[in-house]
């Protein structure tokens, strides 16, 4: 079984969860922020460095980034930084040769056998809470980590 890293991005930070053999672990780091002491333009570079270190620490075989819900709407100033962080993760994975999948929520639900009815949150409520920042958003990273392709 491969070691999968799930990612859930917000405007200023990403949450990370590792899953191996169908179990989510509390491996650190579980959250990466764009360094707050840096100017806006420097921050992306600082964030990319942090992602590199995180991949060193977590050594995933694959990375899955969970997309927001289809009805997600936000202003440009909210949306653009989030996409930038997701893109930065994808670039670092590309640099390391780690396969990345950007995962649609419906795909994640289907792979995890969640019923089509009910919100994703209602299904996540059935998962065991592991590690930190669960309700801040890491639960979505855990979903991404668990939702591997069936082989």
């Amino acid at each position: 079984m491969s070691r999968a890293l799930g990612i859930w991005a917000k405007k200023q930070e990403i949450y990370l969860a590792v899953a191996e053999d169908g179990e989510v672990s509390d491996a650190d780091p579980q959250r990466i922020e764009a360094p707050s002491i840096m100017e806006t333009n420097e921050r992306l570079g600082g964030f990319i460095t942090s992602v590199r270190h995180a991949l060193n620490e977590l050594s995933p075989d694959e990375v899955r980034i969970l997309q927001p819900e289809q009805t997600y709407s936000a202003s440009y100033s909210e949306f653009a930084p989030r996409v930038a962080l997701e893109t930065a993760v994808r670039l670092v994975c590309e640099e390391r040769g780690i396969p990345v999948e950007v995962l649609h929520r419906s795909t994640a639900r289907s792979r995890l056998g969640f019923d089509r009815r009910g919100s994703l949150d209602s299904h996540i409520a059935g998962l065991a809470v592991v590690g930190k920042y669960w309700n801040a958003g890491r639960k979505y990273a855990a979903v991404a980590a668990l939702a591997g392709r069936e082989v």
């Binding site: 360094p35 707050s36 002491i37 100017e39 921050r43």
Partner: protein
């Protein structure tokens, strides 16, 4: 094709000055006539060393590719000194952090944090990808560019490869920066030893250099041999009053006596430092823990320096026996104006009151423009 002999009428290097040396090595500043850049030539004796060990430093530097590790330009067996190796590195115009501290240069808080994060990035890279521990991190081994905005971790001569458990034998390098676990004769250390030394380097960037003249080497050595920090705990608590409490907590964690209580990797230490949110204070009058002084800082951090609001705090002892604290604010391109209510009735040695004043200024600045 190998490089052939030197063309004596047009030597590649001009030696400009000596940087001095010790029993095993010497260094010179030179000028590379073709690259048209200043360089440092470092020569060291390999007598008594096995070949693999003798070539360790230039070989390791040649292997590491990282923007914050001092690069190596060339290495050769020295033609003038038996069993010596000379290698060539860039000359860093900003000197080392130790040089900067010695000349009285004051780092701003953000500058100190960013430089430390760069050094930690370099160390984390070497720990993970090369499995080496530096073992001699200190202000004198971290070099700066001319603007003192970028660091280059150098002097890898004491670095050692970790065993399978991630440990190396400790060396008694520079007394003050040797981690406690490296003090006993059979001491060993892991990457958290580099966390410790980098934490001390940051401590000095924030507060000024340790009072070396008043430190007893005998006491420090005795303490280290007992597996303790070389200075009593009070020796690591001389904070500049502008340093915010959350940053102090991170530095204290990095320099804890027990390696298990420190940040468990340079990468984690770096990430934690990146979370600090504070006004970018730089002290312009006074030094270190002295409560008399003047500080100027910029806020918020996400804006360019020339777009930030400026804050100025002055703290001075009055003839009446009390301490006066005053804060000013200036918008970009505007004059200073009073910021909040000055406090003229603080007891002269009331350090917590001065530190609270800085915290209040930071809180009110963040209320005006929240950090993003």
């Amino acid at each position: 094709m190998p490089l052939r002999g030197e063309y004596l009428d047009k030597p590649t290097y001009a030696i400009l000055r000596s940087l001095g040396g010790g029993n095993v090595g010497q260094a010179w500043v030179g000028f590379h006539e073709i690259f048209e850049r200043q360089v440092v030539q470092k020569r060291y004796s390999t007598i008594g060393l096995e070949d693999a060990v003798a070539r360790e430093e230039p070989r390791l530097m040649g292997e590491i590719e990282h923007p914050h590790v001092s690069e190596i330009l060339e290495a050769q067996f020295d033609p003038e000194m038996a069993r010596a190796i000379t290698f060539v590195m860039p000359y860093y115009e900003g000197g080392s952090i130790a040089d900067a501290l010695d000349e009285g240069y004051v780092f701003s808080i953000h500058q100190a944090l960013k430089l430390t994060m760069q050094a930690l990035d370099a160390l984390a890279h070497v720990h993970v990808h090369h499995r080496y521990v530096h073992r001699d991190m200190k202000p004198g081994n971290v070099f700066l560019d001319a603007e003192r905005e970028r660091v280059y971790v150098g002097d890898w001569g004491s670095a050692a490869r970790m065993d399978d458990s991630g440990r190396v034998a400790a060396i008694h390098g520079t007394l003050l920066y040797t981690p406690p676990e490296g003090g006993p004769d059979d001491g060993a250390m892991g990457t958290t030893g580099d966390v410790y030394a980098t934490g001390l380097t940051l401590y000095e960037m924030l507060n000024g250099p340790f009072p070396y003249a008043s430190i007893s080497p005998e006491d420090a050595e005795r303490r280290l041999a007992e597996g303790r920090r070389p200075l009593p705990d009070s020796g690591f608590e001389h904070w500049d009053p502008c340093v915010p409490s959350d940053l102090r907590t991170l530095v204290r964690k990095a320099i804890r006596r027990s390696p298990d209580d420190r940040h468990q990797s340079c990468a984690f230490f770096r990430m934690e430092l990146g979370r600090v949110r504070c006004i970018d204070w730089r002290r312009v009058v006074g030094r270190g823990e002295d409560l008399d002084g003047e500080w100027i800082g910029g806020w918020p951090p996400h804006m360019r320096d020339d777009q930030r609001r400026r804050y100025r705090v002055t703290s001075r002892r009055l003839q009446t026996g009390t301490r006066a604290l005053e804060a000013m604010e200036a918008l970009p391109g505007s004059a200073w104006r009073r910021f909040g209510v000055p406090d003229g009735g603080v007891p002269p040695d009331d350090r917590p009151a001065v530190e609270r004043f800085f915290a209040d200024v930071a809180t009110r600045a963040a209320q005006r423009i929240p950090a993003r």
